[in-house]
Every structure is written in C-alpha cells, then in structure tokens.
C-alpha cells in the first residue's frame, strides 16, 4: 500500500492535476439548469429524446430470463398506442442474462445490450476475474459494458491501480463500448468525482457513469455537472467526445429534462443523442410516457394504462 501511494504521488499525468471544484459554485450553476422552463414542442422533443436515451435497466438478484425478455420487449415497444415513439437506447442487465437478451432482441434491433460486469456493484474481486467476466459478456453479445471502479483503491490514493484496471477492462471489451461507473456516492467530495472522471476518461472509458443505483446516493445534477465539465475539458484538449450516463434516482420527466438542459448548455447540442448521453433508469420510462400521453391527448392517464415490466 505504502509503495503504491508513493507511486500515485509521483505520477504526473493529467489526472493527477485535476482542477479544484467549488461545491457552492457547482450547486448554484445546477440551480440555474432547473430554473429553465421547458414548454410545448420543446418539451415534446425533449421527452422523445429522454426515451431514446434510456438504458432500461433490471439489476436484481431475483431477475429471471422471463423478466429480461419482458424488458427487451418493452424497450422496443414502449407504448404502442402512441405512434412514432422511439425505442430506448439499450437494455441493461447482469452478465448471465446477455444471451437471453440477445436472443430476444435479435441482431438487427436498434436497442443495444449493456451488461454490468467487473463484479458489479462492489467490484471486490481480482482483476483476472473482472476481465474474464467482461470477455464472457461481450462474447455472449453485449454491445456495451458497464464496469465499476475499485473505490477502495481510489480512496486510498492508488490512482494508478484504478487507471490500469480501467485500461485493462477497456482492452477486454474489444469492440464493445465501455461505461465506467464511478459510484460517486462513495467518493465523498466533488474534487474526487472530478479526479475519478479524469482517470476514467484518460484510461479509455467511452462513457463515464455516476452510480450503480445500489446505494442511496445516486445521480444528482451537481455531480453530473462536474463529470460533464471533465468531459468538456477533455474534448477541448483532444477533440475526443466522451459520453455521460447519470444513473439512479432519475425517475421523473421534469428532472430528466433538466439533465438535458444541463447537457445542452455545458457540452452543446452535439451531445444530445444516445450515442453520447444515457439515463440509467428503470421507472423513468413510464413517467415520460405519461407526459407524452398527456401532451398527445390533453389529459393525464392513470399509471395502470402503462405496462410495468
């Protein structure tokens, strides 16, 4: 441990020089996004975008093949009584269910299959096992891998370990895109969120993601803003776009629209597509569908008219 800490201190990459973050200032900026008023056609376009950015997720110990098949069906048929709705961006499942999902969606679906790997959600295992799980998920047909970082190593200052681990998983992903879950609820400060973001981006993450959804403190607007700023700085320096995925705790349309406001005003409209922005959510889709139905019909419909999967 002592040895690795010393190496972290002597390491001189960009992420060791992550800029400071002022928590009060971030909260103020975050409040401005939620003050934007999203109305009429702008709201409808936003809601369609939100649906199309959702990684429809089931990550329970009690998941069954049948539940995963239902989820796949929902991802392509969100609410067929409203014409012209998009599909979700992806379904997100545990690695053992990737085969089931691939069979359900086939090879030509616009819906991607994302699999959590690296011993989600704790990540407590050896690097070999993490790589093994990642390769298996990709081999089974996963388009995207959602990995967790080793928070214990990060908090102990062993940034090199965290960097190397992400880089190794990225290599194991092959063609699959890698989302790096920082589990910001365990990182304690926004300075740490910024540093972890920089590490994940530099180590080759295609997306950075806030949370596993398995602890109570999940995605928030301030945390997401800090991560978006890391993405923006990286883009400015290298011209390389990195995606963002807030996950957990976003279950209402209004909040989701405020996230889009934040993405647009921080990164620009180029990021407003599911190639670069995702919501990790299980119950958000139905709330958005209720809002869309309201805009279409002028009336709110009861929750029982929307399928729960």
């Amino acid at each position: 441990m002592t040895k690795s800490r010393q190496s972290a201190r002597s390491f001189q990459s960009d992420y060791a020089n992550s800029p400071p973050v002022d928590q009060v200032g971030v909260a103020e900026r975050a409040a401005r996004f939620t003050a934007r008023s999203i109305k009429t056609e702008c709201k409808r376009a936003g809601l369609d975008m939100v649906l199309n950015m959702i990684d429809l997720t089931t990550l329970e110990g009690a998941d069954t093949p049948a539940k995963v098949r239902q989820l796949c069906s929902k991802s392509e048929h969100l609410h067929d009584s409203i014409l012209g709705l998009p599909t979700t961006a992806a379904v997100c499942v545990y690695a053992p269910f990737v085969k089931v999902a691939r069979k359900a969606l086939g090879d030509s679906s616009p819906v991607k299959i994302a699999s959590v790997a690296t011993y989600f959600p704790s990540g407590h295992t050896t690097l070999e096992q993490k790589l093994e799980e990642t390769k298996r998920a990709v081999g089974d047909g996963a388009d995207e891998i959602d990995m967790v970082i080793s928070r214990g190593r990060f908090l102990s200052g062993d940034y090199n370990y965290v960097f190397d681990e992400i880089a190794s998983v990225k290599e194991a992903c092959g063609p699959a895109r890698l989302k790096v879950i920082l589990e910001t609820g365990e990182l304690a400060t926004l300075d740490n969120v910024r540093r972890a973001s920089d590490i994940a981006i530099h180590a080759g993450g295609d997306f950075i993601k806030t949370s596993t959804g398995k602890i109570s403190s999940a995605a928030t607007i301030p945390v997401t803003l800090v991560m978006l700023l890391a993405i923006r700085d990286h883009f400015f320096k290298t011209g390389k776009m990195v995606g963002m995925k807030p996950a957990g705790g976003i279950s209402k349309s209004k909040l989701a629209l405020h996230y889009l406001v934040m993405v647009k005003e921080t990164l620009g409209p180029e990021w407003l597509s599911n190639e670069w922005f995702r919501f990790g959510a299980s119950s958000l889709a139905n709330d958005v569908l209720m809002q869309v139905a309201k805009l279409e019909s002028g009336r709110y419909q009861a929750a029982q008219y929307f399928s729960k999967d």
Binding site: D22, G25, A35, A45, K237, G239, E270
Partner: protein, 487 residues
Amino acid sequence: MAKQTKKKKSIGWEYAPAPESLAQANIAKRYDHFIDGKWSKPSGGEYFRTTNPASGKKISEVALGSNADVDKAVKAARAAYNGAWGKMGGRERGKYIYRIARLIQERAREFAIIESLDGGKPIRESRDVDVPLAANHFFYNAGWADKLEYAFPNRQVAPLGVAGQVIPWNFPLLMAAWKIAPALATGNTVVLKPAETTPLTSLKLAEIIEDSGLPKGVVNIVTGAGETGAAVVNHEDVDKVAFTGSTAVGKLIQRSLANTDKRITLELGGKAANIILEDAAIDQAVEGIVNGIYFNQGHVCCAGSRLFVQESVYDEVMWKLKRRMETMIVGDPLDKNTDIGAINSREQLRTIKRYLKAGQKDGAEMYQPACDLPSNGNWCAPTVFTNVSQSSRIVQEEIFGPVLAVQTFRTVPEVIEKANNTPYGLSAGVWCDKGSRLFQITGSLDAGVVWGNTFNQFDPASPFGGFKESGYGREGGLHGLAAYLDM
C-alpha cells in the same frame, strides 16, 4: 479549440417561449402620490409616462411631484412622527413591518411581473432575487424593532425623525425595501421618491402599506424626476437623507447638504474588480464572472465590471467565458428563460453604446456572442473587452451595462495595485482555492464588500456600502439600523 472530428447530426433543441402570464399584474392607468395614507393628486396636475423598456410602449402614467407635493408629504411624515407612530412601542411597530413583509410574499408574483415589465429585468431575477429579498429585508428589520436596546447595548437610541429617501431604477422594489424597512424599525417616518423610469413597484408597495393598516403619514411616496428628488433631499424638515444612485448626483447632494445638520448616507457607483487566481476552480469562477457582470443587464452598482485574470489561466478562462456567454438568452424580460433582459431606458442604452465605441477606439477587442436582439425596445448583447489598458475609459468609468473589461496580471501585489487604482470602492471579488491567500488579498482591497469565491450575494443581515466615491454609510444589518438612529 481542437477541431471536432465528426459533426453529428443533432437537433438544436431551442427552448420554446415560456412567457409569464400578465393576468396577475394589476396596473392602474394612472397613479397619484401616496401622501398621508391617501392617494393624492399632484398639485401641478401633471403626470408623466412610464414605459416598458422591452417594447417602448406606455404602461401607465404617474404623478409629477412638485415642491408643494413634497412639502405636503414631509408635513404628513412629521405629523405621523409626532403622533401615533412616534409614541408607538417597538413591538407594535414590528407587527406592521412583519405584515408588510407577508403581504409582499403573498403578492410576490404580481410584484415580480410588474418589476420586469417596468424595469426590463428578467422575470427569473425579479422572481428569485428582487422580490424575495425585499420581503426578507422587511422580515429582518421587523425582528429588530423591539430589540434595539439589545442591538446597541448600553446605548441610548432614538429615531432621527423624517427620512427623505431617493432610490434608483436598477432594483426599484428592493431599494425601497432597503430604505423603508430599517427606517420603520427604528421609529422614523419616510418620504420616498422612486426613480422616474421605474415608479410602479413603489406605488404597488404603497398599496400594500395601505392594506397593512400602517398609520397614515408614516410612509409617503412621491413620484417624479430629478427635481422632485432634489425637493425631498433639500426640504428643511427632513432629518435624514438616504440616497442610492450615481456618484455625480451624490456629490450634488453632499454639496447642497454641507451646511445642514441632516444625517446622510450615500450609496453610489462602483467599478468592482473581480480577480481570478490561477488555482481557482475555473468553471465556477467563470460562473461568478457571468453573475458578476451580466446580472440585471449589468445595472448593478456592485457589478464585477473589471475582470483580472492571472496570466497562466487567461486562455482557459476566456474560452470558457465565451462559451458560457453563448448559452445566455437575451430577450423578453417576461420569458422565464431569459438571462439578460432589456436595458432600462433609451438614455442608458445610449450611454452604454458610447462606451462600446470608446472601448473600440482605445484599441480594445470587443466580443459579443451571436444572439438575435428584438427589433423594438432597448437591448445590448453581453459584451467582453479584452486587450484593454488600465487608463482606458471602459476600465476607469462606471458603464452600468453588460460590459466587462478584462485585464491580466502576473503577481498578487500587481493585481492589488490595479484593483485599488480606481476612484470607486464598493465591492470586489476574489477567486482562489487557497484560503490563506484568499484572505490576504481580500484584506488588501479597498472595497466595502468583498466576496470570496462567489459574487453578488446579498443578505439583509449583511451590511452593504462603499469607500471613496462609492459613498459612505452602510445599509443592511445592524449598521443599516444605526444609520437611522441617534445614539
């Protein structure tokens, strides 16, 4: 900026208009003075228009105050001071002030709409800043009304008498609250003259004062232009003068009161330095720059109009600032998404444009983000000048518009010298991640208010006021109460 490798097709996702409804804004066609608890016609029978700066259209007309009107108002204030109000205990006074505060809260939406309509500021600001803060000033001062002996222990305190108050057009309701609330809490009576271009929320406040049952004559509101203000200030039976406005007028007032025993507080112009050090949290500092200069179209006496950026982070600060400015929405003040509203008057717009020319003539580089300005009304895009010199007029003089002048510095002593090299001394801001250095710099700046890692924060409990040509006396907090007391 690195070239974007591939341009993805994506929609711009422009925000749809989100205008605030005018249904709640109850504005009369014509307003008289509010004197002695009654609406009182101007002695000269004259009225003047107040217009919407976003459209140039007339909103209403208000009474033009003459010397006779002011005299009547001061007499009413004196009678109230000698009568019911003067004899009333602090606890009773407090009740009335609390009542005014609550009534402002109840009618907050109406006040916000009228403030934006009459003055041009974005509804987001009048709704989230001006009106709540005005109510808070009444709440805060109400709490002191019966506790003055604790506020100033071992001192004998007494009110001064009749306060003559003249307020500006940049925060019409808020400035009225800053002036009236402490005066009432300390037992004084008031004659207030709102600015010529923004009289409506003061007159709406008069309606609330009427509804609150405040004894007649305690607060009198006389509308008019400069001459009316001069009549208030120079009236021989006024004991205390409180003025917020330009340094030029402040000097006139000081000259005319030089041989009187009137107590006086002046809150005048400013040209605040906003200093960004290289270790600052740059993204949040950029937000602070934007809030510092573009809040309320830059019509803010404590606006951070001079930006000093440490050389090593200059490029980063500038690209981030320009990008942030591109997201700002200029337009209809009543749209909830508007960031920068209308310039308050045509005259002020002319002044600002004069400075834009002067800056360019001095060789500074001007940047404005591409934005569509409405065709009617008074508009100015957010503006940044770089490559400016300390001697340039846009660095030396108060512009009172959305215009920022940027300079760089290398060392801390250098920036302190530059920051203090101004006739003004109202406010300043410092952005720095290291606490010890932050306090070292803030302590070296000659300014009444210095913000650390933030800007334009106001609280009723915090005194506000300036040094040098920014005036003297403090408003807010205990200092603000003391300005209305004889001790």
